[in-house]
């Protein structure tokens, strides 16, 4: 009897935490479906409408906020950042896993220190520099600075995946007459493909969710959803329903991707420090 009570209490506590975790999202859904004239008059009883989504996605009067464009911008800069990081990060991760050479550890730790550096240390000088170079408010400028987020993640985690591979497999390929390059592309890379997929998605999520870079280094052309979502709160009458709809639209991609990489999250989030 006592056992059952404890079990019920434990499940109750768990459910309580999850109510706290899920309520804000549920509430945003409710807010986003409210008609503008009932925003503050009712809490739960109203005739739901999709007007807020129409407005946010620009299928009508868009309140002067080109949110759909911000959405495309987020896609472009996040994909660009992940692509660039993969292209230069995979070979580096492989080298760091397979060889011990002068400077490799220092490079790895420099990369790791990016992860913990206060972003503004680099952004403020970049803000000045980008104005001079014409990179302010451009895709290239954003993709470049997002490397701070995506590259350390990809290099550290891919190194741990490459290290887990037994070198004998590649050696066998070399004895069979493969060149090093072929061994890397035809043997090593296919074996870590799940790791690459997971770390790419995670890097994409972090790039997508970044706020401080686009806030300071873009103004309109390359602005992203995280900054754009704040624009509906401006003005003399903050538009709660539009803000809620914008918030929900902007969390859809990261949430969808996150569901597909649950298994790899532990290693990814801890930079390989914890393997499940």
């Amino acid at each position: 009897m006592k056992r059952r009570l404890i079990a019920i209490a434990a499940d109750g506590a768990l459910i309580l935490y999850f109510v706290f975790a899920l309520f804000p999202v549920a509430w945003m859904i409710i807010l986003s479906l409210k008609p503008a004239n009932e925003l503050f008059s009712t809490y739960f009883s109203f005739a739901p409408t999709l007007d807020s989504y129409r407005t946010v996605l620009g299928a009508g009067h868009d309140e002067g906020v080109p949110f759909l464009r911000f959405f495309v911008n987020s896609l472009v800069v996040s994909l660009g950042a992940v692509g660039l990081s993969l292209a230069i990060g995979l070979p580096a991760a492989y080298a760091a896993a397979r060889w011990r050479f002068r400077g490799s550890e220092n490079l790895m730790f420099t990369l790791l220190s990016f992860r913990f550096a206060p972003e503004l240390t680099v952004i403020i000088p970049l803000f000045v520099l980008y104005q001079k170079l014409g990179l302010f408010d451009t895709y290239v400028g954003m993709i470049w600075v997002l490397q701070l987020v995506t590259l350390p993640l990809i290099v550290w985690i891919m190194r741990s995946y490459f290290s887990d591979l037994s070198p004998e497999v590649e050696q066998a390929a070399l004895l069979d007459g493969y060149t090093r390059k072929q061994a890397f592309f035809k043997v090593a890379l296919p074996l870590v493909r799940p790791g690459i997929a997971a770390v790419s998605l995670l890097a994409f999520i972090f790039a997508w969710n970044n706020f401080v870079f686009p806030l300071i280094l873009t103004s309109s052309e390359a602005q992203t959803v995280t900054v754009g979502a704040l624009s509906f709160l401006g003005g003399d009458r903050p538009k709660y329903n539009l803000t809620a709809a914008a918030a929900l639209v902007s969390v859809v991609p990261p949430l969808l991707l996150a569901l597909t990489i649950q298994r790899y999250l532990v290693r990814g989030l801890s930079f390989g420090a914890v393997k499940s």
Partner: protein, 319 residues
């Protein structure tokens, strides 16, 4: 468990210095290869380190939008910062925020992990949605909470009305604003701690727990003497990440309180933002960041060293 933070070059030790020996390529080219692979990453690292170095250089001048021809002022910027109460106020708020957020997230995260580890039917269903808040951009989370915490029309006060607290001014008092920001941080990042702690719980050896059960040890004793010490290396990784990240909090405060009311939630990164971007005193703003960066760097070193010690000790526990 292996740790990239403390271990050097795992894996390479087992196969010597320069990769698997293949007699296909002449020796000299083999020695060069890792460098060729790593050059692009080096270039990019340089591309990031350059603005950092530039920033460091700027702090030695009085560079601002109002001064197109800055003068060299040496360490004056730093001297001024340390002499100002606004710096110490910011530092104090930052530390309060980081300690508060990391502490609550650790306790709550470990509790959630312990509850999920029991693996009841309810738990298995809930575990699938555990990471949801963590994947939402912190700035979006702060926007959501801002709408909910609105004193007059927000849903939180509406739900509290039956309990006689329908008029709480959540973000309009200094203490309330700080606590609300920490609450948003807790909402977003508790799953982070929970996920790592859960991975730890699932990798713990079974035999000590069986022995404790045979000896009739109580739940609390088992938790304190067995679970927590063995789990600590995992939890510590989470604590380091959370503490370091909250020292440089920006998004949540920016969206929720903008540093207000007054200056009460102006943490160091917000202060640097206001100085450099809003008032365009670049040198001064960067100086704040260099100080924060130095602190973060030192604290990380200390914590990572401690983590290494703990992990070595954990490795000695017979499985």
């Amino acid at each position: 468990m292996s740790s990239p933070l403390t271990e050097t070059d795992h894996g390479a030790a087992s196969h010597g210095g320069s990769g698997p020996s293949a007699r296909v390529v002449p020796r000299r080219r083999r020695a060069l290869r890792p460098y060729l692979l790593i050059v692009p990453a080096l270039l990019l690292t340089g591309g990031i380190l350059y603005p950092f170095g530039l920033g460091l250089y700027y702090t030695l001048f009085d560079f601002a939008a109002s001064k197109p021809r800055p003068d060299m002022v040496g360490l004056d910027n730093y001297r001024r910062i340390f002499g100002e109460s606004s710096f110490w106020d910011s530092a104090w708020v930052t530390v309060l925020y980081a300690v508060g957020a990391a502490a609550v997230e650790t306790v709550l995260g470990v509790a959630v992990a312990l509850l999920l580890h029991r693996s009841t039917r309810v738990g298995r269903v809930l575990e699938k949605i555990l990471i949801l808040p963590l994947m939402i951009a912190p700035v979006i989370a702060a926007i959501m909470w801002k709408l909910m915490l609105q004193p007059s029309v927000g849903v939180v006060n509406y739900l509290l009305k039956p309990f006689g607290m329908g008029g709480v001014q959540w973000t309009d008092t200094p203490a309330g604003a700080l606590l609300s920001s920490i609450a948003v941080d807790v909402w977003v990042y508790t799953p982070f701690v929970a996920i790592l702690a859960l991975a730890g719980l699932r990798s713990l050896p079974v035999s000590p727990f069986e022995a404790a059960a045979v000896d009739g040890a109580g739940w609390w004793f088992t938790f304190r003497k067995l679970t927590l010490p063995m789990l600590w290396p995992y939890v510590l990784v989470a604590v380091i990440f959370r503490f370091m990240d909250s020292l440089k909090v920006f998004d949540i405060i920016y969206a929720l309180t903008e540093g207000g009311p007054g200056d009460s939630t102006v943490v160091l990164q917000i202060r640097a933002y206001l100085e450099a971007i809003r008032f365009q005193r670049y040198s001064y703003g960067i100086s704040y960041m260099i100080v924060l960066w130095a602190v973060v760097y030192l604290v990380t070193m200390v914590l990572v060293r401690y983590l290494g010690k703990i992990q070595n000790r954990a490795a000695e526990v017979p499985k």
